[in-house]
Symmetry: C2
């Protein structure tokens, strides 16, 4: 599909993309660039990495597709950094969990030398790092592709095809609609899990003994990297505040129903919750 594919910043997602691209023969030459020299030396011994040059320019040279896999706060800077060096009008994409700002600013930075298309594979995990990479990470998982009015249609189609080739189910949404959706199905659940875990830290310090699997499930995502999640909150602040406020109203409905012993209302809400959850499986 691509003669040369470039992965910038190989963490869990970048390394998993490289593995999957080699395994599924989606790219002939997978070049990977990491900022730290120690990581570049590790890359030399990976069979899913054909080249690990010292400079980002060399990794991007003659590439057909460049994937920026850094944390969300570094993606726009990387787009600006590579823009003047590109010689092959590549498609550039990213894997950030928030899209509006990244897509608009990266598209602008790259407008003269590349075609930017935003992506968001929903295949993260509370585990991070190259050492947890897995060629099957994207199999059956949703990947958003988020074109907007300035996006090259052919590039967007090609990126969608690329994620499908990695096993993903592709959903196309505008960056703004994407950010609204993930604020509800991903960022809000993360904040709730974190708030619950942080609430319990103080007076349920022996919760390891007293909790069932329910608490473990409900709080699982709270183990995610705080620095990464702080940046997601920074980038999607307004949508998150809207979703969180709406959720607080919903939770107050439960509180009032319990306080008022309105058990018909409680049954109604518990049934709604069950209906939603049953439909996810």
């Amino acid at each position: 599909m691509f003669e040369k594919l470039t992965i910038i910043a190989p963490g869990l997602l970048g390394a998993s993309i490289a593995m999957a691209a080699k395994e599924r023969k989606i790219a002939n030459d997978v070049s990977v660039w990491a900022r730290r020299e120690e990581t570049r030396r590790q890359l030399d011994s990976k069979d899913w990495c054909d080249a690990a040059p010292d400079t980002i320019e060399a990794a991007c040279k003659d590439s057909e597709c460049i994937i920026l896999c850094a944390p969300v706060e570094r993606i726009i800077d990387l787009a600006k950094q590579i823009a003047p060096e590109l010689n092959s009008n590549p498609i550039v994409t990213d894997v950030g969990s928030v899209k509006s700002k990244i897509v608009r600013e990266s598209s602008y930075a790259l407008k003269d030398t590349a075609r930017f298309v935003g992506s968001h594979p929903m295949a993260g995990s509370e585990k991070t790092g190259m050492e947890n990479a897995d060629a099957g990470l994207f199999d059956g998982r949703t990947c958003f592709v988020t074109p907007f009015e300035n996006t090259d249609e052919i590039a967007a189609d090609k990126i969608a095809t690329f994620w499908q080739a990695l096993g993903s189910i592709v959903l196309r949404e505008t960056p703004e609609k994407h950010d609204e959706i993930v604020s509800k199905v991903s960022h809000l659940p993360h904040i709730l899990a974190s708030a619950l875990a942080s609430y319990l830290l103080a007076d349920q310090s022996n919760a390891k003994d007293t909790c069932g699997n329910g608490l473990k499930d409900t709080t699982r995502v709270a183990a995610g990297d705080p620095a990464l999640w702080k940046e997601i909150i920074v980038q999607n602040r307004e949508e998150i505040l809207r979703s969180l406020s709406d959720f607080q109203d919903r939770l107050q409905l439960y509180y009032s129903a319990i306080a008022n012993e309105d058990y018909l209302e409680i049954m109604k809400r518990l049934n709604e919750g069950k209906a939603f959850r049953d439909a996810l499986d």
Copy 2:
């Protein structure tokens, strides 16, 4: 350990206790009583059930240990129903998720003919019913045993030993302390999962496509039986309201920090949440 063990109302928990007790040779004769005749006929063919008499009196006759496995709202009535029939001064216990009211009222109802000890094996599941029973259900799981000032010490020790023999890790707490703990580590998480799922039902009806594993984990318990959870809320209403109100304050801390762009506070809270969750594994 017991010559005769009686299970009343064999759902997921009751049937799993019977299976485990036979497999681990904890009881010679496991008698089971179900209210519905159809269920009693099914019991006849189960190798973990030695007898399935038509009357609750026959099932309890000469028993050393009787376990009331009905939903929380029926346990006290069952204790009152069997009290006049008991001929062997048995230990009676239950598996209800809320303890204060059940322990005090059941102990009183049974004071002349039996010795009541409250139990709460934290081994429920969003799956229910005899057909999902599993002899390994209690293995490595916490079981509360909740004696209070009127509880027979020897009976409490014997029930603790019984749950340990089934593979459980036993924690002793007063009924009141138990109810406070579970309001935080079980009932509050359930309400949050349900409120999140019920909130998303309206405008994220295609969440099956857009959600990652995070949302599935965070909302998993919301699939639990609404009628069962309504009764838990009825029985532990005051502790649940206290925990829910405290949690709402905590969630408002997150909201304010995000609204005020106080990212030091957000990092602090995300780190607290991670510390708690990491300690659960």
